[in-house]
Amino acid sequence: MTADDIREAVVEILSDIAPDEDLSGLKEEVPFRDQLELDSMDFLDIVMELRKQYRIQIPEEDYPELASMKSTVAYLEPVMKDIEK
C-alpha cells in the first residue's frame, strides 16, 4: 500500500468509528485527539481495526505514533508497504 492508500484506510477506520464526523477537512498535522476529541478507547479501536482488517500488530509503546494523520501514515508506511490494497 502507498502512503495515499494508507491514508485512505485510516480515514475509512475513522469514519467507521465516528460516523457523524465530516472527515473531509481532516488536518494532517493536528492530533486526532484535538480535532475529533478521540479518547484512549478510540485509539485502542484504531489499533484493533488495523489488526482486524490488515493483520498488523502495533506494540503498545508505538501507540503515540498514531497521534495525527501525518505521524500515523509515516509510521504505517514501512509496516504496510507489502500489503496488497
Binding site: D16, I17, A18, P19, D20, D39, M41, D42, M48
Partner: protein, 458 residues
C-alpha cells in the same frame, strides 16, 4: 465452543456482544426470557405497547457532541447519533411542598430556578458543580465518600439538598437515603448537566437496533434459554449447563444477571450472600388517556415529587410508599410527530417481600388499590387526569423480579458495585447494573468497558 458466552440480553449484554462480534469473536448471548431487554423491556397488551423500566434516557447530549458517555458509546458501538432517534425532554420539575424547581437539558434553567427559590444558595450551587469530578471514563464511581455529607457541606439549606437528591436517588439509588459521591457526580451530570431524552417508540427501538447490529455481525442470540448452573473446575468456568440440560463451553463467561444471581449459578458456591443484594424496588401505574397531557395543561416530561420537606428514599414498611414518586409523561418529549395517545406513568418505592407474599387474589386487589393511591397522590402535583383514563396497567416488584431475575426485584441492583467486573473465577466476569452505573447509557458503557478490558485481549 464459543470465545464468550454472555448471560442476559439486556442493554449491557447486547453492548458487550456487539463489541465482541465486531472484532470477530464467537459469541453467544443466552436470554432466559422470550423477550430481550431485562430491566428495560417492553410488552404489548390490549393492542398497546408498554415500556417497563426506563422513563427516559439520561446523559442526553445533542448531535455533534464529542464528549461524554453518549458520544463515547456511539463510537464504541459504531452507531450514528441518529440511529438512537433520541428526542430531548420538554422540561421536568422537582416538586416539594410549596417549592418547585424546573430543569431542562440546559443547566442554566435549573441554576436560575435554584437562585429564584433559594437566593442564598447561588454561589453554593456553583461550588458544588465545581466540585463534581469528571469521571470521564465511567470506570469507577466509588470514592467511599457520603454524597449527602459532601453536598451538605456546600449547600446549607436542607430542603434544597433533599430536592437535588430526589431525582438522583429515584433514577439510580441502589441503597437507601444516600449514595457514594462518585456516583452522585455521575448521576448529577447525567440528569442536570446533560439531560433526558427518549426515542418516539420507546426503549424497544434502541433494543431492536442493538440486536440487529449484534446479529448482523454474526453474533448468536438464544431466547428462552436460561442458565441452570455454571460448572467450576480449577478456578475456571468449565462449562455452562442450560435449564434443558444441554451444555455449552466457552473461553469466557460474562454475566449481566447480577452479582448474587451469578454467584448462585456457580456450583462451587454453597450459599451466596443475599445480604449483598439491593432492597429497593418500585411499583408503577400506567394510565392511558383519551387526550394528550398538554391539553390538560400538563407539559412536564418528568415530575419528581415528595409531599414533605424530608425525602425518605427507603424500603417501605407497607406494600408501597405514595408520599413520593416520579410522574412521567412520555408524550412530553420534543418528537417530530406526537404520540397517538396520552400516557401518565407514576412510579413509587415498593416493598418486594410484601408483594411476593400475596396470593393471586390479594395481589390483584392490591394492584387496584395501589393504582388508586399512586394516582391520587400524584394529582396533587400535576393536573387531575383521572376522568380521562381509558386503560390502566400496573407493574410491581414481582414483575421486575420476573423480567430481571434480580433478587428482591431490586431495580438498581446491589448497593455495592463491582467496578472491576471480576469474580472469584479467572474467566467469569460481570457487567450491567451490579458492575457499574445505572441508566441506559451507564449500563451500555458497562458492557462495553468490561468487554474491552478483559474479553478483547489477544
Amino acid at each position: 465452543m464459543y470465545d464468550t458466552i454472555i448471560i442476559g440480553a439486556g442493554m449491557s449484554g447486547l453492548a458487550a456482544g456487539i463489541r465482541l462480534a465486531h472484532f470477530n469473536r464467537r459469541v453467544c448471548i443466552l436470554e432466559r426470557h422470550s423477550a430481550i431487554g431485562g430491566l428495560n423491556s417492553f410488552y404489548r397488551q390490549g393492542g398497546r405497547d408498554f415500556d417497563v423500566g426506563l422513563h427516559a434516557v439520561t446523559n442526553y447530549t445533542p448531535k455533534g457532541t464529542r464528549r461524554g458517555p453518549l458520544a463515547r458509546l456511539l463510537r464504541q458501538l459504531r452507531l450514528a447519533w441518529d440511529e438512537l432517534s433520541l428526542s430531548p425532554q420538554v422540561g421536568s420539575s422537582i416538586a416539594f411542598p410549596g417549592v418547585k424547581l424546573k430543569f431542562s437539558n440546559n443547566f442554566e434553567l435549573f441554576r436560575s430556578e435554584v437562585v429564584r427559590a433559594f437566593p442564598a444558595q447561588k454561589d453554593n450551587l456553583q461550588k458544588l458543580v465545581d466540585e463534581l469530578a469528571d469521571y470521564e471514563q465511567l470506570g469507577r464511581g466509588d470514592t467511599d465518600r457520603s454524597a449527602r455529607k459532601i453536598v451538605s457541606s456546600f449547600i446549607d439549606d436542607p430542603l434544597l439538598v433533599e430536592m437535588i437528591f430526589c431525582p438522583l436517588l429515584f433514577y439510580g439509588g441502589a441503597r437507601e437515603h444516600d449514595m457514594d459521591f462518585g456516583q452522585f457526580s455521575i448521576m448529577f451530570r447525567a440528569i442536570f448537566l446533560e439531560g433526558l431524552a427518549r426515542p418516539l417508540t420507546g426503549v424497544r427501538l434502541i433494543l431492536k437496533r442493538l440486536v440487529k447490529r449484534f446479529k448482523d455481525l454474526g453474533g448468536e442470540l438464544r431466547l428462552r434459554t436460561g442458565v441452570d448452573r455454571i460448572v467450576v473446575k480449577d478456578d475456571n468456568v468449565e462449562k455452562v449447563v442450560l435449564e434443558d440440560g444441554s451444555e455449552l463451553e466457552a473461553g469466557n463467561v460474562l454475566s449481566s444477571a447480577g452479582w448474587v444471581e451469578t454467584m448462585r449459578m456457580c456450583d462451587d458456591i454453597e450459599k451466596a450472600d443475599v445480604q449483598e443484594t439491593g432492597t429497593l424496588s418500585f411499583i408503577e401505574s400506567i394510565s392511558v388517556l383519551d387526550t394528550l397531557p398538554q391539553s390538560l395543561g400538563h407539559d412536564r416530561t418528568i415530575v419528581f415529587f415528595n409531599d414533605s420537606e424530608k425525602f425518605a428514599y427507603e424500603k417501605p414498611q407497607g406494600l408501597a410508599d405514595a408520599r413520593s414518586g416520579v410522574i412521567c409523561s412520555p408524550n412530553n418529549f420534543v418528537y417530530g410527530e406526537p404520540l397517538e395517545e396520552g400516557i401518565m406513568r407514576i412510579t413509587s418505592l415498593a416493598n418486594y417481600d410484601r408483594w411476593a407474599e400475596l396470593d393471586q387474589e390479594s395481589y390483584r386487589l392490591a394492584k387496584l388499590r395501589w393504582y388508586d393511591r399512586l394516582v391520587d397522590s400524584a394529582v396533587r402535583f400535576v393536573p387531575d387526569f383521572r376522568s380521562r383514563v381509558i386503560e390502566t396497567d400496573m407493574f410491581t416488584p414481582t414483575t421486575i423480579r420476573r423480567f430481571t431475575g434480580h433478587h428482591n426485584g431490586a431495580v438498581y441492583g446491589a448497593p455495592k458495585k463491582r467496578y472491576d467486573g471480576r469474580t472469584h473465577l479467572d474467566n467469569l466476569y460481570i457487567c450491567g447494573t451490579d458492575q457499574g452505573f445505572v441508566g441506559i447509557i451507564g449500563t451500555l458503557v458497562s458492557g462495553i468497558s468490561i468487554a474491552n478490558k478483559y474479553l478483547l485481549k489477544e
